[in-house]
């Protein structure tokens, strides 16, 4: 049995592309070793140029092997561990499909401590950020989190992130694990006097509890009412005598919360949520996180957004404000657009597969997976903006397969 196709999201879940001549087990070891080797080279290369703070961070990577503070509990729970952007993360504990369904029906608990946190402070911080991110800060108040892409001059995407408005002059940016250093450098390069930028990633662990029962389980665990926190708002709450940011956000398309806490108390909180949730909750890994976000139609950086794709192309117009941000000109129009589709067969389309309308190649697949809720493969593709048809064909491993485009959502969540 040879692995020959992409694994989940090949450039994301494993940093090294699969090669046909590497068998599954060997490959996993190889990739982990390879990425640790890359880490070490990275350290040698980067330490020369980076600040004390960055040095500290890289040192932690070596000492910890870039594990999240919850690594040991993942191993204890029997998780399959994979290398995701150099972090050793749980892919799944039981089965991706089972964990996915649990989140849709009840609740799932994710360790997302690999995400990066960058603090932006200063009297000019808000004014400055509005020239960096695409979303308009003026539309949001203290206590809100906002989703936004961040662009290069040519309009393509540096990263997509959440901005937590902590006060009028303090903002916490939550960025993708694979982009922490890149984002930090980009922000620093474009910064102005009166703005300070600090990488706080090692000071936060992050848990996500998602699903229709997330509210009830988290309220019981923390022994505090949370229903007053509206979608995309957050509160700073005491947890184990520490301060936690608890926000009503997530990446699953379900109701739920993301919790930012000091790493020291993350294991006890993770265990406590699972204990309180009992049969209503399962720990869920990155596999389910990917299938859930795709079913919800959310973009994943390096797939639907990248250094080659603009937010406008990725249908994120509603997160592009009137503010004059870096890359705003290039986001006023688009030549390509993102579409959603459902396969006719059970073949799973993977990132990079060509998309055809008749004989004409109109684009490529950005993400594909098996949808546990629709029980069919689904995906998203970047195609010429002029295309508006229903029938497409996707070339999967040299064979063209029928697919139908979907307007609107893949599925609607049932409101309890």
């Amino acid at each position: 049995m040879k692995l020959s196709g992409a694994c989940l999201s090949e450039d994301c879940f494993w940093t090294h592309p699969w090669k046909d001549d590497i068998v599954a087990e060997g490959a996993k070891e190889f990739i982990i070793l390879e990425s640790l080797r890359q880490n070490k080279q990275g350290i040698q290369r980067d330490i020369r140029v980076c600040s004390f703070l960055m040095k500290k961070r890289f040192k932690e990577i070596v000492m910890e092997g870039k594990k999240t503070p919850l690594y040991d509990i993942h191993v204890k729970l029997g998780a399959k561990i994979v290398d995701f952007n150099e972090f050793l993360m749980p892919l799944s504990y039981s089965s991706i499909i089972e964990e996915h369904r649990k989140v849709r029906e009840s609740a799932g608990l994710f360790d997302v401590s690999h995400m990066g946190e960058i603090l932006v402070e200063g009297e000019k911080a808000k004014y400055w950020l509005n020239g960096i991110i695409t979303n308009d800060m003026e539309k949001y108040d203290i206590g809100s989190a906002l989703y936004t892409p961040m662009c290069y001059e040519n309009g393509t995407t540096v990263d997509d992130l959440l901005v937590y408005i902590l006060s009028k002059d303090r903002f916490l940016l939550v960025v993708n694990a694979g982009n922490i250093e890149k984002d930090f450098e980009w922000l620093r390069k474009n910064s102005i006097d009166g703005v300070s930028i600090t990488d706080k990633s090692s000071e936060y662990a992050q848990l996500a509890i998602q699903g229709p029962k997330a509210l009830e389980i988290l309220e019981k665990t923390l022994d505090i009412g949370l229903s007053h926190i509206k979608t995309y708002d957050f509160a700073i709450l005491p947890v184990d005598e520490e301060q936690a940011i608890v926000s009503r956000t997530g990446y699953s398309g379900e109701d739920g919360f993301e919790i930012y806490i000091p790493p020291e108390i993350s294991t006890s909180l993770f265990e406590e949520i699972l204990r309180v949730g009992g049969e209503d909750i399962l720990p869920a890994g990155l596999g389910a996180r990917d299938t859930l976000r795709l079913e919800a139609g959310f973009p994943l950086y390096s797939h639907e957004l990248s250094e080659e794709i603009t937010p406008r192309e990725a249908n994120l117009k509603r997160f592009i404000g009137e503010n004059d941000f870096i890359g705003s000109e290039a986001n006023k129009a688009r030549k390509r657009k993102l579409i959603k589709f459902k396969m006719g067969s059970r073949r799973i389309p993977r990132h990079g597969d060509a998309v055809f309308s008749g004989q004409e190649k109109i684009g490529y697949v950005t993400s594909g997976t098996f949808s546990p809720m629709l029980e069919k493969p689904i995906g998203m593709a970047l195609v010429s903006s002029g295309f508006d048809g229903e029938n497409i064909e996707i070339e999967i491993r040299d064979k063209k397969q029928q697919a139908k485009t979907i307007k609107g959502k893949f599925f609607r969540r049932c409101e309890n």
Binding site: M1, K2, L3, S4, G5, A6, C7, L8, F13, W18, V23, A24, E25, K80, L91, S92, S95, I96, I97, G287, T291, R346, R347, I348, R350, T369, F370, P377, R397
Partner: protein
């Protein structure tokens, strides 16, 4: 089938040789590594195959993989029931024959015993 009595490839396939025929399946380790299996297809449901040809195409939520022919031969049987219920493969991988081939020559020394195969997993 008793897994101790089967032969293995380093690519996690098991072989059950009976006279001039060989039944082929995947090991429990392989099934576990694939995770949720969502698709199975037999590119050559009959006729002649050469060593290295893709006999079975398997997809799971996380990966695509293939079972390649260990010998030159003729396809005698494919387990087409799995095309409609691919998830069944993971229930009993050692008892699920994926495909059966008739061969004129096989060099069993190129395969591993169960103990040898187990060692490759350590």
């Amino acid at each position: 089938m008793k897994k101790e009595e089967l032969l293995y490839t380093k690519d996690h396939e098991w072989l059950n040789i009976k006279g001039e025929e060989v039944e082929i399946g995947i090991s429990g380790y392989a099934a576990d590594e694939l995770g949720d299996i969502t698709f199975i297809e037999f590119p050559y449901p009959d006729g002649e195959v050469a060593e290295g040809d893709e006999l079975v195409s398997i997809e799971s939520v996380k990966a695509a993989s293939s079972v390649d022919s260990p010998v030159d031969g003729t396809v005698m049987y494919v387990n087409s029931k799995l095309e409609d219920a691919p998830e069944k493969l993971a229930d009993a991988p050692f008892d699920t024959v994926l495909i059966k081939l008739k061969f004129s020559h096989i060099d069993t020394s190129t395969f591993l015993s169960y103990d040898e195969y187990k060692k490759t997993l350590e």
